[in-house]
């Protein structure tokens, strides 16, 4: 008999109790290394690696900047004997450390630790691997760097605090690492659901946007600002939470109350042990077989599907109506896309809250509110490029259906363009309403000119978008919040088209404004819009033919899993 290997390797001993923790870490490290190395085989993988390297460098620089800032802030709090501010710093780090990984899970597929359990692994290895994963998480690394910055600031301000600062910050760090893992593991089942991840992503991005308003709002109302110290007093009740305890260790040590400092340290240790136990309970449940990541039970049987009837769009041929409905459903079912659509409103609001008193502080739009509508509408067109220039991107495997259905690709593209145009009209209407509410109603001449300019710009963008969707397609997940870049070629062409279109529109508007004949802009745009429509129509037919020729490339990119 032919053997595949000789001599036979010894079978694992029945006494085998699992690999040592160190060996297990080495194997996992090797696995990650192989995954990374293999990802560099393709050009796309290499580009992503370069992009990640840049992102890491940028994040590291920002984190170091944050650490320096926190170092200075800590130094000042101790030097000025204002320890209540230290609590603010600790709470800031604590909230970031605990919340970011949960909200950030919307941007990535969670690592399934349960997959490791099919290997002969000891519970201690499983537990430690989980902790190591938490410790090496980018958020943890950033927060540890920040705590180091705080440590340096504290010691520079008062060298006698060195041992206390070390013990306090170390304990605080341990509590945070344990808690972030415990929170994540307890929420894992919940986070496994697509809808939860999408909702969290939306909350996260919304919070980020709201954060942008802090600066303008703070400067707008800075005269009425309440001293921060008054807010700090609110945190007294939180002295028994880990950030408060970390502060109390330092405050008591600074005062020379060693016993109270010790008590606070013990309390931090109790927190750490309690959280470690909670983490252990959950991980042990997973270790003995409970799958924390499995989806929740499906809807109980018995609820019958409500009869769904397609939208009544009898003005359109049935296939065009079907694609139109599908596109609209897709767009409005995607939290990231909806978020994109409201961005122009955020932009207008942002410019509005910039301080309007004085001469140098006021935004351009506050000084010239008549231009809020054209600028907002132009921005809406810009963000629409994301979907217009990659019109098949979100279809996924459904693209195969489109290609096997008895429908001309010209009709498919027309329906998609109609859907995108409808959405654009909706967003632009929102911009107009926001302009009226936040600034003032634009003059009739500006409104007319803007609408005509859009009738010129939109068909050109749709035409260019159709061609780029075929020549440079990219798979796009409407459910994912992580930044999904279009291809370099698409980005280049879309920016070029926008630059030309916006440049022409801006030149016409400035010229007519200079001549004090703004109404003339609409009249000039009218023939340009007619030409743009003809271009669109011709390109639509051409694009449909090219799409059929390039169907294999489209399928290979869009339908890949």
């Amino acid at each position: 008999m032919a053997g595949l290997s000789a001599p036979p390797a010894p079978a694992p001993s029945s006494e085998f109790r699992g690999l040592s923790n160190l060996r297990m870490f080495a194997i996992i490290a090797e696995l990650r290394w192989n995954l990374l190395r293999n990802s560099l085989r393709t050009i796309r993988g290499r580009l992503e690696a370069v992009s990640r390297a840049f992102a890491t460098i940028t994040m590291t620089m920002l984190s170091i900047g944050g650490a320096i800032g926190l170092s200075i802030a800590s130094y000042l709090t101790v030097a000025d004997h204002r320890f209540s501010y230290l609590a603010l710093i600790f709470f800031g780090i604590f909230i970031f450390w605990q919340m970011y990984p949960v909200l950030g899970s919307a941007f990535s597929t969670p690592f399934e630790f349960g997959n490791l359990l099919r290997f002969p692994m000891r519970f201690s290895s499983f537990y430690l691997l989980n902790l190591a994963f938490g410790l090496l998480d980018p958020v943890s690394l950033v927060c540890i760097l920040w705590l180091f910055g705080v440590f340096v600031g504290l010691v520079l301000a008062d060298a006698s605090l060195l041992p206390w600062a070390f013990l306090s910050l170390f304990s605080f760090g341990v509590v945070n690492v344990l808690l972030s893992r415990a929170v994540y593991v307890w929420l894992e089942r919940w986070l496994a659901k697509r809808r939860t991840r999408e909702a969290l992503g939306l909350i996260f991005v919304f919070m980020m946007i709201c954060f942008q308003f802090v600066g303008p709002l703070a400067s707008r109302w800075r005269e009425n600002a309440v001293p921060l110290g008054q807010y700090a007093s609110v945190f007294h009740f939180a002295n028994y939470l880990p950030p408060g305890l970390a502060k109390m260790v330092l405050l008591d040590a600074h005062r020379g109350d060693q016993m109270f400092a010790d008590l606070s340290l013990v309390a931090l240790a109790v927190y750490a042990l309690g959280i470690a136990a909670l983490l252990g309970i959950r991980l042990h449940a997973q270790f003995i077989g409970e799958n924390l990541s499995e989806a929740l039970a499906p809807t109980p049987a018995g609820r019958q599907e409500k009869v769904h009837v397609a939208w009544d769009l009898s003005v359109l041929p049935a296939p065009v109506a079907a694609i139109f409905e599908k596109e609209i459903r897709y767009l409005f079912r995607s939290a990231p896309i909806i978020f994109t659509f409201v961005m122009p409103l955020f932009l207008l609001a942002m410019f509005r809250v910039v301080p309007s008193h004085g001469t140098h502080g006021a935004s351009f739009l506050v000084k010239a509110p008549d231009w809020a509508f054209p600028i907002g509408a132009g921005y809406a067109l810009l963000i629409l490029a994301n979907i217009v220039y990659n019109t098949f991107g979100a279809d996924g495997p459904g693209l195969q259906f489109i290609l096997t259905a008895p429908v001309r690709l010209r009709d498919v593209m027309l329906a998609k363009n109609l859907a995108h145009a409808a959405v654009f009209i909706l967003v632009t209407s929102g911009v107009l309403i926001a302009t009226i509410v936040l600034y003032r109603p634009p003059s009739l001449a500006v409104t007319f000119g803007t609408v005509m300019a859009l009738l010129f710009a939109l068909p050109l963008n749709l035409a260019a978008g159709n061609m780029m969707s075929i020549y440079s397609p990219k798979k796009y997940d409407f459910g994912a919040f992580n930044r999904q870049r279009s291809t370099g070629a698409t980005a280049f062409v879309s920016m070029g088209v926008e630059a030309v279109v916006v440049g022409i529109a801006a030149a016409i508007f400035f010229l007519t404004r200079f001549l004090e004949r703004v109404w003339l802009a609409g009249v000039i745009f009218l023939p340009l819009a007619a030409v743009a429509f003809v271009v669109y129509w011709l390109v639509l037919n051409l694009a449909a033919r090219r799409a059929l020729d390039r169907r294999e490339i489209l399928i290979a990119e869009i339908c890949r899993t």
């Binding site: 290997s5 599907e305 397609a310 049935a318």
Partner: protein, 271 residues
């Protein structure tokens, strides 16, 4: 005489230096339940993609129900239903929305589409997840939905790429019953599958592709007789046939594609 449901002449597909499908000639008569078999990488999916218009042939001609696919793809697509390898689903629609979309794409009116969609969802036991998006369905549910979408317009020829892969026994029974009923109504079914027992039970005719070339074609009995004749002609054949024992499709398949060699190998370290 009726035109064959599927007529393939000299069909070839090259990917650079690789010839995935090499000058295939094949006819599938109307009303046949036709199994298209082959080992992994033999060219089955490439062939089915070309037959359904997802891939352009490098050479050759395809006629479905007498209509040339290249000359009038829309007319052909109107007559066929397809469950391709990737299932062709739109993940962010519900099952009901998807079937309504598909029905409209095939030109059915709204009322008929809604009625058929409801019937199909009930038949496939998919009507108890009204709010769920397809992306949240299990693989088996997605497969059933893809099958429902492929038949909503009542196709005359149905192309199925691995329809039973990842489907449980209950769902598999439902699908088989539906396919048998379609054959009863005169439809033609062209399927690829690795589950030879199912092909043997369902299909009246079979073709086997190996390394891009068609190596066998005919009814199961014809294939069986051919292999039996070959085996009896070879003295000391590896698998002698008992006098009254019929060769299974698996034995026929292995004999044709030469899959018996590895059986003699052994992993000596396995317990």
């Amino acid at each position: 005489m009726d035109a064959p449901a599927v007529c393939i002449e000299n069909l070839t597909r090259r990917f650079g230096p690789l010839t995935a499908v090499d000058h295939i000639q094949m006819n599938v008569a109307a009303g046949q339940f036709f199994g298209f078999l082959g080992p992994n990488g033999a060219g089955k999916s490439t062939t089915i993609k070309m037959l359904t218009g997802l891939l352009a042939p490098s050479e050759g001609r395809i006629r479905i129900l007498g209509i040339d696919l290249e000359k009038d793809p829309v007319a052909v697509k109107r007559q066929i239903g397809v469950v391709p390898e990737g299932l062709a689903l739109f993940g962010r629609l519900t099952g009901s929305e998807y079937l309504n979309f598909v029905g409209r794409m095939y030109g059915l009116d709204r009322k008929t589409t809604a009625q058929r969609a409801t019937e199909l969802l009930d038949f496939m036991q998919l009507s108890d997840r009204p709010k769920s998006l397809i992306t949240d369905y299990s693989h088996g549910m997605q497969k059933k939905l893809a099958m429902a979408a492929a038949v909503i317009h009542g196709p005359r020829v149905l192309f199925l790429d691995e329809p039973f892969e990842g489907v449980d026994a209950v769902a598999s029974g439902t699908l088989k019953a539906m396919l048998q009923r379609m054959i009863g109504h005169g439809a033609t079914i062209f399927l690829t599958s690795h589950v030879l027992e199912i092909v043997e039970r369902l299909c009246s005719h079979v073709a086997i592709i190996h390394k891009g070339r068609l190596v066998a074609q005919g009814s199961l009995d014809e294939l069986r007789s051919g292999v039996e004749a070959r085996l009896s002609a070879v003295p000391g054949s590896a698998e002698p046939i008992a006098p009254h024992e019929k060769l299974t499709l698996e034995q026929i398949f292995l004999n044709i594609v030469g899959g018996t060699v590895l059986r003699d190998q052994e992993l000596t370290w396995l317990g």
